[in-house]
Symmetry: C2
Subunit: 530 residues, 2 copies
């Protein structure tokens, strides 16, 4: 913040932030990685307005509706900022009945008047990256499986192999299970939201909420306890298939069979080992109707977890649920990688589009990646691992001039060299001073981490030559003092060195060190821009 | 719109739109083209919140402040949606006094409660692409020249060579000129905004506004007329340098000399021939302090221009100015390429940052590209030129199965082939049906314009083979019926064909036809994603 006094409150609004410098580069590479996966699976981009008619958002978010930002009534329509990307997608589907099926993705900011926790990436304005498949007439669990395959590819491409787990459950299993346990029909949602807090509170507290606050018979609560501690994969599936009470319940039976089908498909996609079928996963939003999931990683768990999970479990539960439970994880820990919550979540919602247009019932299934949380973890990792300065830009070459007495500054000659480099797609800068001093020019290049200098001297220029110097070479390196090249070969000579350096290990670009996958991608993307 | 009745008003808010399908692809390629140019010149991305504290925007936009969207007071800070990207940039500079110089770019939506003209790309929510250079201690006109070089590169890379003109003027020339003509100091801004309407109104009307409405002496108006009809390049510069009255005015002299310097630098950059020094260009915003410019193209002029320009001039004036003058170009013409106004505009603003923090005076110069207008023109051109269907996605391969009696659908086998293709970065889709019919699968591929089918048959699969078929081959083509390949070679065989097709002329992707530059870029970008 500036130290100057001014009549302005010189800040961004509460819970919002500016993105600049290396942060933006890291974030944009996360976006690129994710959207490349979406496009590989046939995703097409949809972009909706940042605000919607207020009626469109009404009645979609339950209690959380109080977090919606409204626009002021300035005459005309009443509007609100979007709360997520799912409801605008459903509104778009209802408005475009000729679209019977689509895979759409959407990367954009959403708005919630929540209590911010900036260091953890929980903001009032934050990014979501959503992929959803809409369409009737699909066979059960096929698109659901592809969505989970996409989750895997995203985290693989981000370089997180083996560092994430997808917790999965099924609303129909959960509903049937509650029925079988003796939960009255009208208490199923309240009991479900109590279960949702199990990753934050000990069983005793959750039980107390169920029995004392919500009036559940003690026996029903005890029945529930047996189920919600279960997790596994095919072993759990087998166990449930043998559970005669559950299988006698139509809802549970359908859910369990669908989970079986899903696991078969995940096996065909080669990603079954990244999921955990977890009967305690409930998820808050009312509109889910089938499979639900949440992705957790190391650091998703809050630092001061109320209890250790009953089983040894490396990846603890957490997430929005933690927040919903107590809202107290705000500033308890300043480690941005701890307690950031789930890093992606989603599920099947078959009735949301019908809320806008009863005849346009289109079943949907999707996933939303929490980019700000993924960013917080990525950035913390980069900061732990970095051994060089972060860069603010991606410029390859700084074009300089030097000379002795009567030095003209060679501004137009520097402009001409830059023109040649830009035409060839080389990223280049030069000093905006007429007669810049050589040390100033070197300092500018160094500060920005620019890897190469092209140095113009009057005598060399007269001979049709300039010097290329790689910055920061060690003493004794044969090119330490730079090499003179003919101007007519300049582009080739520069590109050769940029190319060699980008493949080498001497890169000073900290982002390139982040993860091999992301860095590799970024290099290709930069080439593409040339 | 849906035909169903519902209690919702199923639409987007007035002046906003959804972006989907081919539109999004075209628009994203415009973004990529522009941001690649920005990055080539050392631009670093800045992203600010969509809303700012209300005080930050107050007093920056003059009369247009009434167009600002306010957020409702829900307790807490009073905020408004951003009106442009320039004021948030200045706010950021004032907040970050350690940043003494920067080239920043920002691509984002801005908000104005204006009268929308959807077909022309004038919306209440619309995109701007801004590039600005901030920094003290630069020598005059050097960054200004680079910004204009960037304008040239953007339109070259969009494939608009020879189809755009950059109109340039200088606020100091204009102010000095008005003084010399006898405009009293307190009338300079009002007279300037009258001149600003010359592209829409005949001189007689503008003169009437000056003399009758604004009380300018008739003689001063006549003096002004002689100047504001002038345009040219070095010829005009020479004429002004010989104008003793003008050169005796300190402001005019400084402005004219700076224009001379600018032209020298534009010559060094090889882009002098794309500018037109135009003394009638005034631009509305108060905060400009030096050079100002506006880019026009064929179609920038309104269809029903009030007059022909006095000189033969292919590229007529128009733009925001037209709108400001009468606001009547809303729906006069439905041709989206006519009257879209200027497609980019900007200038030097040396005092804006100081409005936030008096001690943080940082001179700035920049350009803002109106992407929605560039999009409208690009899309109209594509629609004129297209001879194929627009595509909604970029998928390369549709994986199908067929079989006779006892057909299993081979769902898991299709999943397995897709898995292999995705791992290799090939964009692939498959039917979500257990037992899809072959014609349905072909229709799905055709509808999406997917160029290749991979067909699984039970016998071939047992022999370790699948068939690759290029869609839409003419009768008699040797591969019309497809070619069988070993599954172990599938990725290579598919990539070979995708590559060949993308270089060939048989592409069915309408976007690829748009402009060579954009299409070429898109291919490279897609490769990068692989």
């Amino acid at each position: 913040m500036g130290k100057e006094k001014s009549s302005f409150n010189l800040k961004t609004p509460k819970g919002t932030r500016d993105w600049s410098g290396a942060d933006t580069l890291i974030r944009d590479r996360i976006f690129t990685t994710i959207s490349n996966v979406f496009r590989r699976h046939g995703g097409t981009a949809l972009d909706t307005p940042v605000f919607e008619l207020r009626d469109i958002l009404a009645g979609k978010y339950g209690e959380d509706s109080k977090l919606i930002y409204d626009l002021q009534d300035q005459g005309g329509e009443l509007c609100s900022l979007r709360y997520d990307l799912t409801v605008p997608f459903a509104r778009w589907l209802a408005m475009n009945p000729e679209v019977r099926s689509i895979k759409r993705y959407h990367i954009a900011k959403v708005y919630r008047r929540d209590q911010p926790a900036v260091a953890k990436g929980r903001m009032r304005e934050f990014y979501q990256c959503d992929f959803d498949v809409a369409g009737a007439n699909f066979d059960p669990m096929v698109p659901d499986a592809e969505v989970l395959k996409i989750v895997n590819e995203v985290f693989e491409d981000l370089g997180w192999n083996g560092k994430f787990t997808i917790k999965i459950n099924h609303r129909k299993v959960l509903d049937g299970l509650f029925e079988v346990c003796g939960v009255p029909q009208d208490k199923i949602r309240p009991i479900s939201s109590a279960v949702d807090k199990l990753d934050k509170l000990p069983w005793a507290d959750v039980r107390k909420e169920m029995v004392e606050d919500k009036g559940l018979p003690a026996e029903a609560a005890d029945n529930i306890e047996k189920y919600v501690s279960k997790k596994g994969r095919k072993d759990l599936l087998e166990e449930l298939l043998r559970d005669e009470a559950l299988m006698a319940n139509a809802s549970a039976k359908q859910g369990i069979e669908e989970m079986g089908l899903l696991m078969e498909y995940l096996e065909a996609f080669g990603v079954l080992d990244t999921i955990s079928f977890d009967l305690s996963l409930a998820r808050g939003l009312d509109y889910y109707t089938g499979v639900i999931y949440e992705v957790v990683t190391e650091g998703s768990a809050p630092a001061s977890s109320a209890r250790a999970a009953p089983e040894a479990e490396k990846l603890q539960k957490s997430g929005k649920k933690a927040k919903a439970a107590s809202g107290d994880d705000d500033d308890r820990s300043n480690d941005p990688t701890v307690g950031v919550g789930s890093i992606a979540a989603g599920g099947r919602y078959d009735n949301l589009v019908g809320m806008f247009s009863p005849k346009a019932q289109i079943p949907c299934v999707g996933i939303s990646f929490g980019v700000d949380r993924i960013f917080s973890i990525t950035k913390a990792r980069i900061e732990r691992e970095k051994n060089t300065e972060a860069r603010n830009n991606e410029v390859d070459v700084y074009v300089m001039a030097f000379g002795g007495k009567g030095f003209t500054g060679m501004l137009k000659e520097r402009m001409d060299i830059c023109k040649t480099l830009w035409s060839a797609g080389v990223k280049a800068e030069f000093s905006y001073k007429l007669k810049p001093k050589l040390p100033q020019q070197f300092k500018a290049a160094e500060t920005s981490g620019i890897p190469f200098a092209i140095i113009l001297g009057e005598e060399e220029l007269a001979a049709g030559q300039v010097k290329i110097k790689e910055m920061g070479l060690p003493e004794g390196h044969p090119e330490k003092e730079g090499v003179s090249v003919d101007i007519k070969n300049l582009v080739d000579e520069v590109k050769l060195r940029i190319d060699k350096k980008s493949k080498g290990t001497t890169t000073t670009n900290v982002v390139a060190d982040a993860t091999a996958a992301v860095a590799d991608l970024s290099v290709k993307t930069e080439d593409a821009g040339v």
